[in-house]
């Protein structure tokens, strides 16, 4: 336990400190931010570091075991629609809990002056992830090559990007990037690896991997479709 805390603390400092120091350096070299902004930035960085440490610890202790418990239960059932439904719900619910997704949707909501609502965006992103996690599980069951699925997803995104309203395209692409965060990645990986290890004749390595890549296609398609439908 102590070792885990040490590990996480080191990780968080490594991730946050370089840019924080960079910003403080920029402040003194080029841009003089108003003092309250700079002080709030430094306090904010401390809060972010503390928050990340608590959060990652909580993920290890609570959220990851929840995901693993459900993931290991899943392949024991032989009823495919049930498995797919659970995979969908898992993808959906981990994405809703992802902090990066909250940050993005919050920013989009603020910048768009409330015209793209927080809840709707999070919902669409989560449905996209859920759908593609279920599709990825179906792929493992059917033994369909992952390359085709990734290529199909990417081609669909490319085509859709020409039809989606231009203000939705960047948000849609960004939505694909934020889903691969600290909650989603371990839970979904555990699901995929657990699942393909139960199915005989499937290589854990090449079947378990690729899930995250597939999961990040869903939100891009979802948000673009939302743009096409709404506007």
């Amino acid at each position: 336990m102590l070792r885990v805390i040490k590990e996480i603390t080191l990780e968080v400092f490594q991730a946050i400190l370089p840019l924080t120091i960079g910003v403080i350096a920029i402040n003194f070299l080029f841009i003089r931010m108003p003092a309250p902004v700079l002080i709030q930035f430094i306090f904010g960085a401390v809060m972010v570091i503390g928050g990340m440490i608590l959060f990652l610890l909580g993920v290890r202790l609570g959220i990851l075991p929840m995901g693993e418990a459900v993931g290991s239960e899943l392949p024991k059932r032989r009823f495919v629609p049930y498995i797919l439904a659970v995979a969908f719900l898992m993808g959906f619910s981990v994405t809703v809990a992802e902090p990066d997704v909250m940050v993005l949707s919050d920013q989009v909501n603020t910048v768009s002056g409330g015209s793209i609502s927080n809840t709707l965006l999070v919902g669409v992103i989560a449905v996209g992830v859920g759908f593609f996690v279920a599709a990825a599980i179906l792929r493992i069951i059917l033994g369909f090559p992952i390359t085709y699925m990734l290529a199909g997803g990417y081609i669909a995104i490319i085509i859709l990007s020409f039809f989606a309203p231009p203000e939705f395209v960047p948000v849609a692409f960004d939505a694909g990037g934020v889903t691969t965060g600290p909650v989603t990645v371990p839970v979904i990986l555990a699901l995929g690896i657990g699942f393909s290890s139960v199915l005989a004749g499937r290589s854990t390595l090449s079947d378990g991997f690729g899930l995250i890549g597939l999961a990040s296609i869903g939100p891009v398609i979802g948000v673009m479709l939302m743009g096409v439908i709404l506007y």
Binding site: I31, G44, A45, G62, V111, G210, L214, S216
Partner: protein
């Protein structure tokens, strides 16, 4: 802004965070009641963990809102107002490098690749390669904002390249590459760089913060995908060439 207001709107933050875990907890509780029936001690540990995670996210989001957004938009507004707009590009390159080089997930990926390639690809190569790749892409993202280039013009060729590379790369390289898309989109990239980008677009005339301010994260996610597949391809070609030499000699 006078004085510090670190905890302004903290109630809203807490509410958002609480709502965010409702689905996963509800889902788990239903599973627990129907199938899992895990022992109480284990459950207590899990819920303690969930509580920690909630407190952590609330603190994280509040820090981002109170500290990173204002500073990010301050820097963005300043950068958007300078005359020599090209300066944004080296700035973006530096920020992209700093945000990625520290990212623990990138290091982890480096070790994974080193292991998967039997040591022929060093983890330091992955770390520097991805950091430089992201740096260039953030620079490109800044150029896009400066000249108002639609994101499509950059990301669609990138995606096409990714699809093409997919068909000439090994299956394992493809799987690792696409999973690695998220390694560089860590908390700093998503929160701080996004705020800077939005700040810049709001101070350059004729830029729409929604259409031009977003998109940076997607470029940051694309860089590692392309880099890993290119590295895999290079390794494949080198191995093949070595194999041919051995065959001839």
């Amino acid at each position: 802004m006078t004085g510090l207001n670190l905890f302004q709107g903290f109630g809203d933050t807490i509410l958002t965070v609480l709502k965010s875990v409702v689905p996963i907890v509800a889902f788990f509780v239903i599973f627990q009641l129907i199938y899992l029936r895990l022992p109480w001690r284990y459950l207590a540990r899990i819920f303690f963990g969930v509580g920690l995670a909630l407190a952590g996210v609330a603190l994280f989001l509040q820090g981002v809102k109170a500290g990173f957004y204002p500073a990010g938009s301050e820097i963005g507004t300043f950068l958007g107002a300078i005359q020599a707009k090209w300066l944004l590009i080296p700035f973006g390159v530096a920020m992209g490098f700093l945000a990625t080089f520290g990212e623990p997930a990138v290091r982890v990926l480096g070790y994974q690749v080193e292991k998967a390639s039997g040591g022929s690809i060093r983890s330091s190569l992955i770390l520097y390669g991805i950091s430089v790749g992201v740096a260039l892409f953030v620079g490109l993202g800044m150029a896009r904002i400066v000249w108002g280039i639609p994101l499509n013009y950059i990301i669609v060729p990138g995606y096409i390249l990714a699809v093409l590379l997919m068909f000439v790369s090994d299956k394992t390289a493809v799987a690792i590459a696409f999973d690695s898309g998220g390694v560089a989109t860590g908390p700093m990239a998503v929160t701080f760089l996004l705020a800077v980008a939005v700040g810049i677009t709001s101070s350059i005339e004729g830029r729409d913060p929604v259409a031009d301010g977003f998109g940076l994260i997607s470029l940051i996610a694309l860089a590692p995908i392309l880099f890993i597949m290119l590295t895999g391809l290079y390794l494949k070609i080198r191995l093949k060439r070595r194999g041919e030499q051995n065959g001839n000699g």
